[in-house]
């Protein structure tokens, strides 16, 4: 008796889902593409929104910035639910470990007085800014046209609330387990002179009818505030006896680099779109002209307060460097649109 072993290939009837086949043909595709391409409904809406009968429920006209095909843009990080959650869970685990370390050794409570003031009057109030930026991202999550854009906004919204939580936890740790410092920070956010330009900025971005304009506006502030507070100031902290500050800001800085990846790619896609590129570049230029001076004013106020408390920090000088870098980056991603 002899056995002959042979292997037999069973061809699957289809390699991937129809939404991917329609675009790329029948070949194995990534989970990201399967979960993203053409997922958002485009037709057969039963009725128009009761609050806006000039538009469909999902409509490209919710923003002046448009893509001929929203799926010509894909998230460079290729985040869909699982990789996003895994990635961020790891980030927050790391943050927790760092914070536990800081708490065990009471390093935050031992911060020099000037640094405590900087934290409670500049850094901690930014959790309210994060919260406002979350609302702006949620607007994008609802009104962006195309799943590839919309899901990036959704994840950004979750990230923002995560950032606000990180800041809150630091505040609680500095306040030795009480919410006292967070209350101080909230009063600062509501009443202090130096925070009003930023508060006004984010509140106006929140009520922008055009979701994309709000998103780009918030990004203009981000690209000034994040590098100054979470990178440049972090280096000052290391040499100035506030190593604890450095340990938790690195997460916010890491997050900002990650945020840049999808947002830069999106702005580039808008600026270079074959059908709408020219109009998009004009709109982007207008958005920058409108919001950038306000963003700059808001960031300058913060930098001044930092410099008043920590004369060696040079935050205003750092802001000037950051501004130049942000302008160069903007010119690069838009192909000199603005």
């Amino acid at each position: 008796m002899q056995y002959e072993l042979r292997y037999q290939v069973l061809e699957p009837k289809r390699q991937t889902y129809q939404n991917v086949i329609d675009r790329f043909g029948d070949q194995p595709a990534s989970r990201y593409l399967e979960a993203t391409l053409d997922v958002e409904p485009r037709e057969n809406f039963h009725y128009r929104p009761t609050w806006d009968d000039s538009r469909e429920l999902y409509d490209a006209d919710y923003s002046v910035l448009k893509l001929a095909d929203p799926y010509s843009y894909t998230d460079p990080r290729q985040f869909y639910y699982t990789p996003y959650v895994t990635n961020r869970a790891a980030l927050h685990d790391e943050f927790n470990k760092q914070l536990n370390y800081l708490e065990e050794r009471e390093l935050l409570a031992k911060l020099p007085a000037a640094w405590r003031t900087v934290l409670s009057s500049v850094v901690l109030p930014l959790r309210h800014y994060e919260s406002g930026a979350q609302m702006v991202s949620v607007g994008g999550a609802r009104f962006a046209y195309g799943t590839s854009l919309e899901q990036c906004c959704t994840f950004a919204a979750f990230d923002r609330i995560g950032n606000a939580q990180m800041l809150s936890r630091v505040g609680i740790a500095i306040g030795e387990g009480t919410g006292e410092l967070l209350q101080v920070a909230k009063r600062e956010w509501l009443d202090s002179e130096h925070l009003q330009p930023l508060r006004r900025f984010v509140e106006e971005a929140m009520v922008m009818a055009d979701w994309a304009e709000g998103l780009v506006a918030v990004d203009l502030v981000d690209s000034l505030v994040y590098p100054v507070l979470y990178r440049e100031l972090d280096e000052v902290a290391l040499t100035g006896g506030a190593g604890a500050y450095s340990l938790f800001t690195q997460y916010l800085h890491t997050w900002f680099k990650d945020q840049r990846k999808w947002l830069d790619a999106l702005i580039t896609a808008w600026a270079r779109d074959e059908r709408h590129g020219e109009a998009n570049r004009e709109h982007l230029a207008r958005i920058v002209a409108t919001w950038n001076p306000l963003a700059h004013e808001a960031a300058t106020e913060l930098a001044r307060v930092v410099d008043r408390q920590l004369p060696d920090a040079g935050a205003v000088a750092a802001l000037a460097r950051t501004t130049t870098a942000a302008e160069q980056r903007w010119a690069k991603i838009t192909g000199d649109a603005a």
Binding site: Y7, V9, L10, P28, A29, S30, R31, D75, P76, R77, Q78, K261
Partner: protein, 94 residues
């Protein structure tokens, strides 16, 4: 003296992570033939196959070290004539 170009080939394990790698190899090597076997993707080309770190990073959306290539391959036919931080080239050297 004319030489016919011999085929070089790489067999890559088929998985979600390696799909971007395969897409990158495809875009860098237009002459490629790709065959899907169960659990395996066989890619072949005449002469050489080039893998650029930058292309792979663009496809998979994260940083990638050329050393990670070892985790993806099952076997290969040819010699690894170049393997540095930015590029891997598979071709026959003799």
């Amino acid at each position: 003296m004319s030489e016919t170009l011999r085929q070089v080939g790489i067999d890559i394990q088929e998985s979600e992570e390696n799909r971007g790698l395969i897409a990158a190899i495809r875009s860098d090597n237009p002459e490629l033939t790709v065959r899907h076997l169960p659990g395996l993707v066989k890619i072949q080309a005449a002469g050489q196959i080039v893998i650029n770190r930058e292309t792979v990073e663009r496809e998979i959306g994260r940083e990638w070290e050329t050393g990670e290539f070892q985790l993806a391959i099952v076997s290969f036919a040819g010699s690894l004539s170049e393997w540095d931080d930015d590029r891997i080239i598979v071709k026959w050297e003799h």
